[in-house]
Each structure stands twice: as structure tokens, then as C-alpha cells.
């Protein structure tokens, strides 16, 4: 029973990060109907930027802000100079996929050039090592902080999307770009903010991921992208509540499969799920109470 509770804590902490990351991926799909395969690279850049901030002696919340803003700026730049010109040119839909893959490649190359190819860790002073022992369950303070930070980010995101004027604009564009234009929504700034938010969520998730495992490397984006896409499919493409639920679900599934099956096939579980979902219910597990995109 204690082992079970332990796994739940571990699963929730990793799952909350997956959820934050996947919200960004699925938001872009919900609003613009495209998949941005560079989100993983944004996550990696956020992790690197956050690490650099922590090394300069800034506390973790500041590092989180740095990571989010860094990822967000990259996201906005990619929209301004890559995705928007591509949409304007009216090229085939896979051109966006190719371009985002190429962007990811470029960013990984740049990160390697700046940070080196080795795996890096946080300076010991910047990460809390407190561990609470509650009835045989070891809870790291760090795990709690990560879960709280992730929940805070999700709440902030929900607030922006539901209660602010830019959030309403984004939801209108998600409903229909033409309708948004007719009712006077500035579509261009709404898409720009969409990409900024998605990039910021990816960057923040990168920092949290780096802190949780204390590992930052230029190659962390690829595996994170895989998780993000898995969660997107689990929750249904463009379904934000689905992405939150899917993130926690994937985190728990992974942790339990390591504990009770085998660590070797942790990643295979996620992919197996993708196939299963595509076969049985391609609209995602949670399409029943879907709000209809974003």
C-alpha cells in the first residue's frame, strides 16, 4: 500500500509536467489546426535558460519566469517569421510540419554549440533536498513544489483563456478564423499570443522537468515531444481539459509500469496507448465532455 501511494506521488509530479507541456501543444492545434513539432525544442531551450538563471544565483521562481519568457519569445518568433508566412503562402499542410521539425533541429544544434553536448545538472544550492516521511511514503519537497507550480500555471492559463479579452479573442479564432475577423478580433495578435503562451508553457515545463530529474541536455526535447504528442492523442487533438487529464494519466501509467512491469518498456507503454487510442477512439479518451476545441 505504501509503495502504491509512493507511485501515485511520483506519477502525479511527472504527470503535472506532461500536462503543462501538452496544454501548449494542444492549444496550438485547437486554435490553428496545426501541430508544432518544435514545441519539444522550446521545452529544451526553456530548461537551458532556467538552468543558466539558476547558475547565476537566481531563486527557482525567477528561473521559472526566465524559462517561460524564453520559450514564449521563441514561440512568438516562430509564428511571426515561420508559421504565419507559411499560412499566407497557402502551401501544403505538411510544409508547416517540415519547417517546425527543421526549427527543432536548428535549436538543438544551437543549444549544443552553446551548452555543449553533455548532460548538465543544477547547482546543489538551488534545489531543495528536503524529504518528508509520511507513514512510509517519501515525499520530496521538490515534488510538491513542482505539482503546485504546475497547477498554478494551469490555473493562470485557464484564467487567461476564460476571463481576459485576449483569451476570448483566442477562443474566437479557435472557433473560426473568419468569424473572428468579422466580429473584429485581431486575428494576427491572437495567434501571436497563442504561440507565446504555448511556448511559455513548454519553457516552464522544461524547467520543471530539468529540476525534477536534475538533468538538462540539448536532447531532452525529442523525448518530451513524444510525451506531449502522446498526451495530445490521449486527450484528443485540441482538447485542453483532455490534455490535463491525459498528462496525469500518462505520468501515472509510466510510473506504475516501471514499478510493476519493467522499466525497459516505459516508453513503449505510451506508444502502445497511441495505437490503441487511434484504433478504438481517435477523438481521444475524453471526447465525451469535450468543450469543442480550446
Amino acid at each position: 500500500m505504501e509503495g502504491f501511494a509512493q507511485q501515485i506521488v511520483n506519477g502525479l509530479s511527472i504527470g503535472s509536467i506532461y500536462a503543462v507541456f501538452a496544454i501548449g501543444c494542444t492549444l496550438i492545434f485547437g486554435v490553428l489546426n496545426i501541430i508544432n513539432l518544435a514545441q519539444g525544442a522550446f521545452l529544451m531551450v526553456g530548461a537551458c535558460a532556467g538552468l543558466e538563471a539558476a547558475r547565476l544565483g537566481f531563486p527557482l521562481p525567477v528561473a521559472l519566469l526566465v524559462a517561460a519568457v524564453g520559450g514564449g519569445i521563441l514561440g512568438a518568433l516562430s509564428e511571426q517569421f515561420m508559421f504565419r508566412p507559411l499560412r499566407k503562402a497557402g502551401g501544403h499542410r505538411w510544409m508547416g510540419l517540415v519547417a517546425s521539425l527543421a526549427l527543432a533541429r536548428l535549436l538543438v544544434g544551437v543549444a549544443q554549440e552553446i551548452f555543449g553536448t553533455e548532460v548538465q545538472a543544477y547547482p546543489p544550492s538551488s534545489i531543495s533536498t528536503i524529504i518528508w516521511q509520511i507513514g512510509g511514503v517519501r515525499i520530496q519537497a521538490l515534488q510538491v513544489i513542482i505539482i503546485l507550480a504546475a497547477l498554478l500555471l494551469m490555473l493562470l492559463f485557464a484564467f487567461i483563456l476564460q476571463r481576459t479579452s485576449i483569451g476570448r479573442a483566442i477562443r474566437t479564432v479557435a472557433f473560426s478564423e473568419d468569424v473572428a475577423q468579422i466580429v473584429g478580433v485581431r486575428v494576427e495578435s491572437a495567434t501571436l499570443v497563442t504561440f507565446f503562451i504555448a511556448g511559455a508553457l513548454a519553457g516552464a515545463a522544461g524547467l520543471l522537468l530539468g529540476v525534477l530529474f536534475n538533468v538538462v541536455s540539448p536532447f531532452m526535447g525529442d523525448s518530451a515531444l513524444v510525451k506531449g504528442l502522446t498526451v495530445m492523442i490521449l486527450g484528443g487533438l485540441g482538447n485542453i481539459p483532455g490534455a490535463v487529464a491525459g498528462g496525469f494519466l500518462l505520468g501515472l501509467l509510466e510510473v506504475f509500469s516501471i514499478a510493476y512491469v519493467s522499466s525497459a518498456f516505459r516508453d513503449a507503454i505510451g506508444f502502445g496507448l497511441i495505437f490503441l487510442i487511434l484504433l478504438v477512439k481517435p477523438t481521444g479518451l475524453f471526447s465525451g465532455f469535450e468543450e469543442r476545441r480550446a
Binding site: 507559411l86 505538411w94 536548428l106 544544434g109 554549440e113 504528442l229 487533438l237 516508453d267 506508444f271
Partner: protein
């Protein structure tokens, strides 16, 4: 003169082999793209062909030619198994499923140690692949692409690429056509993987990851997938560029990424569209009108 050629072969033999192999791969990916299927499964299919054929030649002593064929068939069958459920779905699900497939294969290759050697891979594979075999297959690939474009099947594919719903209405079995193309694409990629394994002495799980799939996709897109020689030009260019510029591997990644973005943004028809005014190009670019109307329907 003959001495000159043998000298070139001996000093640039590896680069030439790599070029020919990538040409084969480029046409393999082109087959899938021509049916409007954005595949990220190339790495997985290559891995199936490579590990399958190496298992046959080194452990069972099967002749090389048979092993390569079986490797290709293995990849083709895998494509049919994925394709039957996934090709029924519209949108980006196909891309996501092939992406997942490549990763599944990588994870299996990493963990099934008795067959794949795990993370270390398989070392000391006998070198059976000859340059002439690669050259022959590259020629066959280009010819097949040419024959396909002018065939009834090829015209059906072109119709599907423009509008799959309309094609279905006109009596083309869209699913069957796509499935055939996807299987053929995987078969070619599997063969390329088998040949690559018997060229390099070594295979490991990292050789066939997502990066391989992305690389393979960039060949026809850089060269121009509407032109017959587009995939070939893209493959040769992408293979030769880093060889001649001698960059560090990081700079190679940065440069390749930048190049692909610039081509996609400013030259969406690929390098071959530069030749548009040329008479030779016009012969091979019968589909430029189709390409234009195809551009207008970004959705599908």
C-alpha cells in the same frame, strides 16, 4: 580514363555509396508523399529491414540477396499493419502514428538484446553491399517513379493527392491506393535499411530514430517532390553538402535546419522549381498545373 574513375571510387567510395543509398531512401519517402501521406516512419522501416536482414545473414546464414528482400518485405508488412487502421483517419493522425511507430521500433531495438544487441548494437556485420548494387537500385527507383507517374495507378494517385473525397466519389478506392503506396514506400525503406546495415559494419538503435525519418523527408522536399528528379537532387545535395563543407556536427544540424526552413518558406516547390523556365524541366514537370491547384487546398 579508367584509372581516373577507379581513383575517384577509392577516395570517394563511401560518399558515393551514401549518396546512392539516400537516393533510394528519397524515392521511398516520395512514394508516401505522393499519396499525401506525411510519414515519419522511415526510421522504423529502415530499422526493421536492417535488423531483420542482419539477423538472417549473421545468425541463420541466409544469402545476402534473400535477406535484403525479406528485410524489405518485413517493413512492407509492418506498414500494412499500421496503415489499415490509421489510413482511415483524416488529418494528422497518420503522421502521429508513424512517429509513434518509429519510436516503438527504437524502444524494441534498445531492449530486445538477444536479437538487436541492445544499446550497444550489432558490431562486425560483414560488408556485402556493393556500389553497383546500390547504383542499380537507385536507377530502378528513378525508373519506377517515372513509370508510376505515367501509369493509370499514378494518375489515380495524383487525383487522390488533389482531393481524396472527390476521387472516392469517382470510384477510386482511396484506402487501397494509399495502402499500396505506403506498403511500397516501407518496402523500399526496408531494403535501404538492409543495404545500409551491410555497408557500415555496425548498426545501433540510435541510427534509425526520428532524426533519420526527418532527414529522409527533407530529401524530396528540398529537391522538390513534384519533379521526377527532385528527390534525387535533394538526396545528393543533402549528402554532399556536409561532406564538402567539413563542419562540426553541430553546425551541420544548424545549417541543415536553416536550409530546410528557407527552402520551405521561399522555394516551396523545392530546388527543381528553379529550373521551371528550362525546357528539360518542363518535360518532367507535367504536374505543375496540378501543383498550383493543389496548393490552394491546403486543408485535407
Amino acid at each position: 580514363m579508367i584509372g581516373f574513375f577507379t581513383e575517384i571510387l577509392s577516395s570517394y567510395g563511401n560518399v558515393i555509396d551514401l549518396c546512392l543509398l539516400n537516393i533510394l531512401l528519397a524515392y521511398g519517402v516520395w512514394l508516401a508523399l505522393s499519396g499525401n501521406m506525411f510519414t515519419l516512419g522511415t526510421g522504423g522501416f529502415m530499422a526493421l529491414g536492417a535488423y531483420g536482414s542482419v539477423f538472417l545473414t549473421t545468425q541463420l546464414g541466409v544469402p545476402f540477396g534473400v535477406a535484403v528482400l525479406v528485410g524489405g518485405l518485413l517493413a512492407g508488412v509492418a506498414a500494412l499493419v499500421i496503415g489499415i487502421p490509421v489510413l482511415r483517419l483524416r488529418g494528422d493522425y497518420f503522421m502521429l502514428a508513424t512517429f509513434a511507430f518509429t519510436e516503438v521500433i527504437r524502444v524494441i531495438a534498445l531492449n530486445w538484446e538477444s536479437v538487436t544487441g541492445g544499446a550497444i548494437g550489432i558490431v562486425g556485420i560483414p560488408r556485402y553491399t556493393e556500389t553497383w548494387q546500390l547504383a542499380l537500385l537507385a536507377v530502378v527507383a528513378v525508373y519506377s517513379a517515372y513509370a508510376l507517374r505515367s501509369s493509370y495507378f499514378g494518375r489515380s494517385i495524383a487525383a487522390i493527392r488533389q482531393d481524396d473525397v472527390m476521387s472516392q466519389t469517382m470510384g477510386i478506392n482511396v484506402l487501397a491506393h494509399r495502402l499500396t503506396l505506403f506498403g511500397a514506400s516501407a518496402f523500399v525503406c526496408g531494403i535501404a535499411g538492409a543495404l545500409a546495415a551491410h555497408l557500415n559494419f555496425f548498426i545501433g538503435p540510435t541510427d534509425f530514430g526520428l532524426l533519420r525519418s526527418v532527414d529522409a523527408l527533407s530529401y524530396p522536399i528540398l529537391g522538390g517532390f513534384n519533379a521526377l528528379f527532385g528527390p534525387m537532387v535533394g538526396a545528393i545535395f543533402t549528402t554532399l553538402l556536409p561532406e564538402f563543407l567539413r563542419f562540426s556536427s553541430q553546425w551541420r544540424e544548424i545549417l541543415m535546419g536553416l536550409l530546410v526552413i528557407l527552402v520551405v518558406l521561399y522555394l516551396p516547390g523545392g530546388a527543381m522549381s528553379l529550373l521551371q523556365g528550362n525546357r528539360l524541366a518542363r518535360i518532367f514537370k507535367r504536374q505543375s498545373a496540378e501543383q498550383r491547384s493543389f496548393k490552394q487546398r491546403a486543408e485535407s
